[in-house]
Amino acid sequence: MTAALLEPRDLRLLAAWRLNPRRTFAGRVQGERLTKRRGLSIEFADYREYVEGDDLRHLDWNVLARLDNAVVKSYRDEEDLAVHLLIDASPSMRFGTPSKLFAARRLAAALGSVALAGGDAVYVRVLGRREPPQPPMRGRPGYSRLMRALDGVGEEQAGRLASSLVEFARTEDRRGIAVLLSDGFDESASNAIRVLGGRGFELLFLQIVADEDLEPILEGDLRLLDEEGGEPVEITANSIVLKEYEKRLGEHNAELQASVLRAGGRYALVRSRTPLDMLIRDVWRRDGWIA
């Protein structure tokens, strides 16, 4: 399964890159990411008035000599970054060739690899699945765990995307990057994205769609059955209806994108059959997802 998700060539392509978050987040262990917390790191952050008890080694003697004012230097600490890989495993993700779920697992593996290589803490979360919190994966040892975790991701019959996202936002106390890999086929997904952003997560949303989602090949008089339990819809699949569907899909996707951007995140719409190298080149690098 691992080999199917990422080829050695893919790993070589990803090896030089690191996730490039727009914001900084507090870490739990020292890592390679700068944090807002002032600390003892070597990277200068600011000056402050000297108070009794401060370490005299950080007193700026040059300022004291010139201005007769005792100030101490403060430094930004370097901590690890939490990267949450949120994989939508709802029934709608089984559509497409390859399936949208497979594409989600593969992209999660790619971004997870990049995060592990950057020393970040990677959490794999299958939306809709109820499971106890798992310890983060870090460093090279975490790579094999990541792959095992992704191999275990299958189609879930659990709740819908929006409710799963909201639940994640409310229960996860460690802020960081939330990488959402989903087709976004939920009417309330935009609201859930806003909740996620409001909780301090930086959202990277990869909306994975199948070809038949964008250009459905339907004909005749049909009763459409919702894979995720929605109301059946009766249609006559003619050019008018198909155009109306495409219009609605475009509006829905635009709303998702707007929600993500308002929350300070990043958004990309990719087809499930899009090659990884093309995605790296044309999306992640171009739009600054990785650096």
Partner: protein
């Protein structure tokens, strides 16, 4: 707008209900799994229905189908619009060209007025209208069959000419009905003054009949009688003039004897009355003509002729219990003959009864000859007590051997005649055999016996029906010769015939006919006789038949034609047709309904194709 078949509109309700019911049925749809349904519009087009009932929803397809159905049913109901005009989609104009249509109360004549109206109708006809023209004269003819070619119709209309003969409207109407028998919505338009006998044997079929009355006046004088009487005190001539109108009319009448005026007088004839007079006539004259110079509207009946020759006109009674159409036809073809038929001799014609005979000749065909008051008899088959022959027996299949060279047998060759059964006779006193044959055992047998005396008698030993003589050229020639013999010689070769009546004369070679206008026609004989069918105007026709000159005087002696008051109603067949002042023409709209339905169905199909 009216409907020719309004009952068809009832189809709209059940068929419309069926279409609506089909849309009430719920569509059975194929299940299709999709990632999410919230992106799909709830838009269904009911193009097929085959399941349970559902709520009726607005649907353009249903609206278009109902509209198409409504248009189809509308077309089926044959909508028609009413417009003023003589023509319809199919119109047969029957133009009366009979004698009374020569009346001048419409200028120049009634016929010209009728032609003017038809011409206007032809000019105003729509391009898809078809029109036919029938000339209702003495010999009705189709002047132009159904056509949309207006130039051709106008030419044919111009070719319709006045005749002084009574029209044969019954034949003309039957021709018209036959012309449009297969046409729906056809119209027969009769342009006439209605001066013709009641038409009994006519059914217009699906066509409607419209009567356009021509004429307005009844002002007409006619010579209703011109006769000659020879008595011991000399010859006298009787003439009568009738006024068929309601107003008195004065006129000058002139009498001619062999072309010379012998009398001329002024007459004032009161309305619906006759004025007659008698005058002495020169005994040596043969042809007497009367000409009326009157201020009336019809000139054709202002001329009459009487011929003093005894054989110039013959009233013939045919007594034939079994009937013989060949003999009837041969007698009727002779212009001198006025034929009556009877299965038995009327008692009033027997010799023993009082009074004079109404006939100049009695023909016995199959009935035994009896003594009659008439001055001449022609007997076929069974002789009687007064016959020129005495019957002695019967024989079969005799053969002709010889005939005398007499005018009676001129042009008659019986050598090839097959006679199946024949009476064996011998001549009575005074009788002579003009044709003889031979029986099977070689005995001589008189075939034709003639006797002249106080009465002229001719006896033929076999009936025409027992031989093939009627099928030969010799038969009409023999009958004509027999009439010459029995009626006496025709002095000067003069005949008086009713105008328009076809006549037939024996002739062996081409005949020259000079009509009253001086035009010379050449007529070719067929089957030993020449038929003259074109006596259309009153007056003198000169014939040159085998070098012998014959003068034919055509006159209109028809009281019905002289009564020129136009008739408001026509009695045609079982119905009556009233003159229409502002005739209405119908315009069939069903084709437009059908085209509209097709257009709607096309739109419905396009919509269906786009939505499917």
């Amino acid at each position: 707008m009216n409907f020719a078949a309004a009952g068809q509109l009832w189809w709209l309700a059940p068929l419309g209900a069926i279409i609506v019911a089909l849309y009430l049925l719920r569509m059975r749809r194929r299940d299709q799994h999709v990632p999410a349904t919230f992106l799909w519009p709830r838009r269904t087009e009911e193009v097929r229905a085959n399941a349970l009932i559902q709520r009726l929803r607005f649907n353009w397809l249903m609206v278009l189908q109902l509209l198409a159905l409504a248009l189809l049913v509308l077309a089926l109901a044959r909508p028609i619009s009413m417009q003023r005009g003589l023509t319809s989609q199919v119109t047969v104009f029957v133009v009366d060209s009979g004698a009374s249509m020569g009346a001048t109360d419409q200028k120049p004549t009634r016929l010209d007025e009728a032609k003017r109206q038809v011409s206007g109708a032809i000019s105003g006809a729509r391009i898809q209208d078809r029109v036919a023209l029938i000339e209702a004269g003495s010999i009705p003819r189709v002047a132009c069959s159904l056509s949309s070619d207006k130039a051709k119709l106008q030419d044919a209309l111009n070719g319709i000419a006045q005749t002084d003969a009574p029209p044969k409207m019954d034949e003309a109407l039957r021709l018209a009905a036959a012309l449009c028998a297969d046409e729906s919505g056809a119209r027969i338009v009769v342009l006439s003054d209605g001066v013709f006998p009641k038409v009994t044997d006519f059914a217009p079929g699906r066509a409607s009949v419209l009567y356009r009355m021509i004429g307005s006046s009844d002002k007409n004088l006619a010579i209703d009688a011109l006769g000659i009487t020879d008595s011991g005190r000399g010859r006298s001539l009787f003439c009568s003039v009738a006024n068929d109108g309601h107003a008195p009319v004065d006129a000058v009448i002139s009498i001619f004897a062999d072309g010379a005026v012998i009398d001329s007088r002024r007459l004032l004839v009161a309305g619906d009355r006759s004025e007659g007079f008698t005058l002495g006539a020169p005994a040596a004259a043969h042809v007497f003509e009367a000409r009326l110079d009157a201020h009336d509207d019809l000139a054709a009946d202002n001329y009459a002729v009487a011929v003093a020759d005894s054989g110039s006109h013959m009233r013939v009674l045919l007594v034939a219990p079994a009937g013989d159409p060949f003999l009837e036809k041969a007698l009727a073809l002779d212009p001198r003959v006025t034929l009556d038929k009877s299965e038995a001799l009327p008692d009033t014609e027997r010799a023993q009864t009082n009074g004079s005979s109404a006939y100049d000749l009695v023909v016995f065909d199959g009935a035994p000859e009896v003594e009659v008051k008439a001055p001449a008899t022609l007997t076929f088959g069974a002789p009687g007590p007064g016959s020129p022959a005495i019957r002695t027996g019967d024989t079969q299949k005799p053969t002709f051997t010889d005939a005398e060279d007499v005018p009676l047998m001129a042009g008659v060759n019986l050598s090839s005649t097959f006679i199946d059964a024949c009476a064996v006779v011998k001549p009575r006193n005074g009788a002579r055999a003009v044709a003889v044959g031979r029986t099977g055992d070689g005995a001589e047998l008189p075939l034709v016996l003639a006797r002249e005396g106080a009465r002229r008698q001719l006896y033929v030993a076999f009936r025409p029906g027992d031989s093939d003589l009627p099928l030969q050229f010799a038969f009409p020639i023999f009958i004509s010769n027999a009439l010459d013999f029995l009626g006496g010689p025709v002095s000067g070769g003069s005949l008086v015939v009713p105008v328009g009546a076809p006549i037939s004369l024996p002739a062996s070679q081409s005949v020259k006919l000079t009509d009253p206008a001086g035009t010379v026609h050449s007529l070719q004989p067929v089957g030993g006789s020449v038929a003259i069918r074109d006596i259309r105007k009153v007056g003198l026709y000169k014939l040159d038949v085998d070098g012998k000159a014959t003068r034919i005087y055509a006159t209109l002696h028809d009281p019905a034609s002289s009564h020129i008051a136009p008739a408001d109603n026509l009695s045609l067949g079982a119905g009556t047709v009233t003159a229409s002042i502002r005739p209405v023409r119908t315009f069939d709209l069903w084709r437009f309904g059908l085209l509209a339905a097709l257009a709607v169905l096309t739109a419905e199909w396009i919509l269906f194709a786009r939505r499917s």
